[in-house]
Symmetry: C2
Subunit: 348 residues, 2 copies
DNA sequence: ATGAAAGCGCTAACAG
DNA sequence: CTGTTAGCGCTTTCAT
């Protein structure tokens, strides 16, 4: 009585034998296809339980040509060389965590789990394309950290289903979700003006990022509407340190400023530090408004008034759009723009 | 002359025909098996290029019984009900980002991409087990947010290869990486004492988390060695808000304290806020030491002295251990404990 | 309503 | 060194 060393897992065949039916019937029951006698269904279910059967996904994919998996790709815009070989920084950004959380919350109830990929060089982008072409995933959810990311174009060229987190910088037949950045920045401007602030400045994000440009433009436009055609600007790169430096510069230019809008919460937190060092009270002397409503907004002292960016909802929508496209590949690219809202806290 | 509607991707057969050889030979070339005539190798490579061939992973997995994929599972300890149905919070923690970054940086050069999973209820844990049993991934990298996570036990019981981020609370034949938490906390104690601090308190993490318990014990032990057998403790839950509340309590108990060790940087940041509100200067009146050396440590004002937790390296090591186990399933469970180090910044 | 049989694309003995 | 041959486990016509 020798037992197999590595008892290979039960197959459909085993279940069929145990239930006294054919493989085809077991397959039907498992895949929830009707036209199966209830009594037989029950027998099959029993056999599945007692054999501990679990369908082999590879075999299934081979015939259905579907993996039931999607890739979640975080992509930069680097060139040939690996400028940032270590992906830790990118994933450490709470923004990425929110995207991942939103994607998972939508996909998981459907039994779909995303494959995490990271691409920032020409080589790694090709890796992503090859990976998808090999049928490791049915499609991709793409989050670019820079506007000029070539990956969306590559995906479209390869005919691979994908959905982007933001409008591509070049027009492309591809679906995406995005935020009404201009409107969001406008909310911040309206709020500062309504609060009686007259000497307002802004800390922008890196201007090669479309979202950063939109937030700046939206802020400037809204301020102009309120009779403030000129707004001092200092450019940051979305990090706390850059926000701090930008605030220093602004304070140097205009010591009497009484309000500042930062294009994200993290830079606003940096600005808070600079203001404190210069003896300005927030919001007494200077009102501060951030953008995103990220964890940084509430971790600050004082907590930040900010523009809410429904990242999780948007990420979930990406999943929805991708699945819709997979169900009906003929359907055209669509987009969904989310509306931001203002969250007022102690900093303004 | 009609073309196929959906031109099905080229197969090995197509490449073989184009190269004028057999499927087996093409397979050999593609899988880098030697004993193939260099001239034929070249011909095959050419044929691959002109057909645009990409191997079908499902077909490959079906016969090799390997997917070349691993699961990265973030797991809580919840019971039957979904107390925290939304995974966004968990993924938003920068700690998770560091783990993901470390895992990806190690796995990606090997062409392996992790599947992101999240489990916090009995049901979702079963989902993870089922997913692995279906052969969607060869093994799991598991990060538990609580000590009493049942998932490691389930994985062992199912005979699924896995590596944990921390020592399991129950002894289990499973590999893991961990940090010498006690030693790390000891470093913090030594530093505070060396800096002349005499009235030192600590903010612990949630005491149902083994790492939090170890950090507290390590700190108390080291302080005792330095002649301070009693250290006031306030328990937090690793969030900034909890750190702030804990600091308030400590200040109430011992208004003259001159040093505090928080079991993570985020709570230390909260403590900083409370200290500022109470008019204490850091480090002038009170020295503050955190733990982890996370992004929170440098985002604070002043930046935190902290105990470095090499999360990325540890995550990479998890990957290495898992792959080693997959290569040789007979090999026993191993563990690797990393040593922390002190990073001195302005807060102490 | 159920079963028989034909592959999905690939790797791995086994011959030659 | 190369080709032939069997499947891997599953879904899916096609008969019955």
């Amino acid at each position: 009585m020798s037992e197999g060393r590595t008892p290979s897992p039960p197959t459909l065949e085993d279940v069929a034998r145990a239930a006294g039916v054919s493989r085809a019937t077991v397959s039907r029951v498992i895949n929830g296809i009707r036209n199966v006698d209830p009594a037989i269904q029950e027998a099959v279910r029993l056999a599945v339980a007692e054999t501990g059967y679990a369908p082999n996904q590879a075999a299934r994919s081979l015939v259905t040509r579907r993996t039931g998996t999607v890739a979640l790709v975080v992509s930069g815009a680097g060139g040939e060389s690996a400028e940032n070989p270590f992906p830790a920084q990118v994933f450490a950004d709470p923004f990425f965590g929110r995207v991942a959380g939103g994607v998972v919350s939508f996909l998981r109830p459907l039994g779909i789990h995303p494959i995490l990929m990271f691409a920032e060089t020409a080589e790694t982008r090709q890796q992503v394309v090859a990976y998808l072409r090999q049928g490791n995933a049915d499609g991709a959810l793409l989050v670019s950290t820079h506007g000029a990311d070539p990956l969306p174009g590559l995906l479209v060229a390869a005919g691979l289903p994908a959905v982007l987190f933001a409008r591509p910088s070049e027009p492309l037949p591809i679906s995406y979700v995005d935020l009404a950045h201009r409107a969001g920045a406008g909310l911040a401007a309206d709020h500062l003006v309504a609060a009686g602030r007259r000497r307002v400045a802004t800390i922008s994000g890196p201007l090669d990022v479309p979202a950063a440009r939109d937030r700046l433009a939206g802020f400037q436009e809204a301020m102009a509407v309120h009779g403030h055609p000129f707004v001092p600007v200092a450019e940051g790169n979305f990090t706390a340190a850059s926000g701090e430096r930008a605030m220093e510069r602004l304070l140097g230019e205009q010591p009497g400023l009484d309000g500042v809008f930062a294009a994200n919460d993290v830079m606003a937190a940096g600005a808070l530090a600079a203001l404190r060092r210069h003896g300005r009270r927030v919001p007494g002397d200077v009102a501060v408004v951030g953008f995103d409503d990220s964890s940084a907004a509430t971790a600050c002292v004082p907590p930040l008034t900010t523009v809410r960016h429904p990242v999780e909802d948007m990420a979930a929508e990406m999943g929805r759009l991708l699945l819709a496209h997979l169900d009906d590949p003929a359907q055209r690219a669509t987009s969904k723009i989310f509306q931001p809202s203002l969250v007022v806290r102690a900093s303004s």
